[in-house]
Amino acid sequence: MRSAPAPPDLGLQQRLRAGDREALTVLFERHREHVFALCWRLAGASVAEDLLQETFLRVWLYRASVTGRAKFSTWLYAVARNVCRDYLRRCARERSLGEEARVDALVAATPHPRGRAEGRLAIRELVAMLGPDAREALILSRFHGLSYREIGEICGCTEGAVKVRIHRALERLRTAVENKEARHGL
């Protein structure tokens, strides 16, 4: 016997808005892996679980602002993104050290991405060192498959700005790898 289809997010949003905690539980089960992965990539493995919790506590706290007009997952990603930003701000992760200098420092120790596993690891570290706007846009596009329009809604910017951020992010990674190749005569 087939089980009944899961209710769509829209109905759950209405229940959430009315203060139904069970609706939050269902939404949590439905979206937690995506939110956890976003927090994991944006803020780091050691705090991803805490930020996942904080995201859904904020969803509960701000449930009155769930209107159903926007796609719930887009709104949820925006909350998670803000939670991660707040955390990074609190921790002063976005250091005063210039972004260029940070990238250059990493590039010096970066193997080629076509190489072994540690090469892929280095690419990951490079992404972590991108500026917050470029990093968020790239991660939301590459790992969460979101459109430029959705990313714009989440990050509070235009589609055009998203396009520029992702293009610059990839160009920066490509240049970093290219420079690495040149240094090692690859």
Binding site: R21, L24, T25, F28, E29, R32, E33, F36, A37, W40, R41, A45, A48, E49, D50, L52, Q53, E54, F56, L57, R58, W60, L61, P113, R114, A117, G119, R120, I123, R124, V127, L138, S141, R142, F143, G145, S147, Y148, K163, I166, H167, L170, E171, L173, R174, V177, E178
Partner: protein
């Protein structure tokens, strides 16, 4: 097509934002322009390499942890209607594990009229961590103390006690049937209790799940309390 447009389209193509005709035009250009051909290939390699950065699954107990945090917040909510700023402070404090000074600090040992309350019976058996002296004991004391403070300050705690691990009497009729702590067939005994207020059994269970007792191999039995029948009452 110029080289700048080619690179821009290639990136949009990787992100699934370019139309097929645009991609075709970019491919034609890249086939004729060695620099763009190499750039396109590099971008595709990087896009692919990013795919190896896979996040692990969320912890299995994350849902239980959220339920516990929400139960505590709901308890605080029932004790007043905090404004947005107090709410924000509550959320932040709940995540920090300490609801310091937001909803009051006094224990409430008296059960309010018709308030649903639950006893959390903490049980320990042979499988539980033995709190021997040393860093482990200090860690356990700190965690249990923090948990109790969290319950207290969130307004759900109505009372708590640890039980002497060695002393006890079991009475049957007018005689002492056993001298010492009663253990069940699995060797477990009650090591302490907490009396908490919660909406229902499920919410009480969610509060119990936030206890460090479970991390140290203990078990918790959650039992609703009921009003004793009044003599001559209906």
């Amino acid at each position: 097509m110029d080289c700048e447009s080619c690179g821009e389209i290639v990136v949009r193509g990787l992100a699934g934002e370019a139309a097929p005709p645009e991609l075709d035009a970019a491919r034609v250009h890249a086939a004729e322009c060695a620099a763009c051909g190499e750039t396109s290939a590099q971008l595709e390699v990087i896009w692919g390499a990013l795919g190896s950065w896979q996040a692990p699954a969320a912890p299995l107990d994350s849902a239980a942890r959220l339920a516990g945090q929400l139960a505590l917040l709901s308890a605080a909510e029932r004790r007043g209607s905090p404004g947005p700023w107090r709410w924000a402070a509550l959320v932040a404090a709940a995540l920090a594990g300490v609801l310091v000074g937001v909803v009051g600090t006094a224990s409430r040992p008296i059960i309010e009229d018709r308030e649903p309350t639950f006893v959390l019976l903490l049980r320990r058996g042979p499988g539980a961590v033995d709190p021997v002296d040393g860093p482990v004991r200090e860690q356990m004391v700190a965690e249990y103390s923090a948990w109790r403070s969290e319950l207290d300050r969130s307004g759900v705690l109505r009372g708590s006690r640890l039980l002497d691990a060695d002393a006890g009497l079991l009475l049957r009729g007018r005689t002492v049937a056993a001298d010492g702590v009663l253990r069940d067939g699995a060797g477990e005994s009650v090591s302490g209790f907490y009396l908490v207020a919660a909406e229902d059994l499920r919410a009480a269970g969610a509060i119990a799940r936030t206890s460090p007792h479970l991390q140290y191999g203990g078990s918790i039995e959650v039992r609703p309390t009921v009003e004793p029948p009044r003599a001559g009452g209906r």
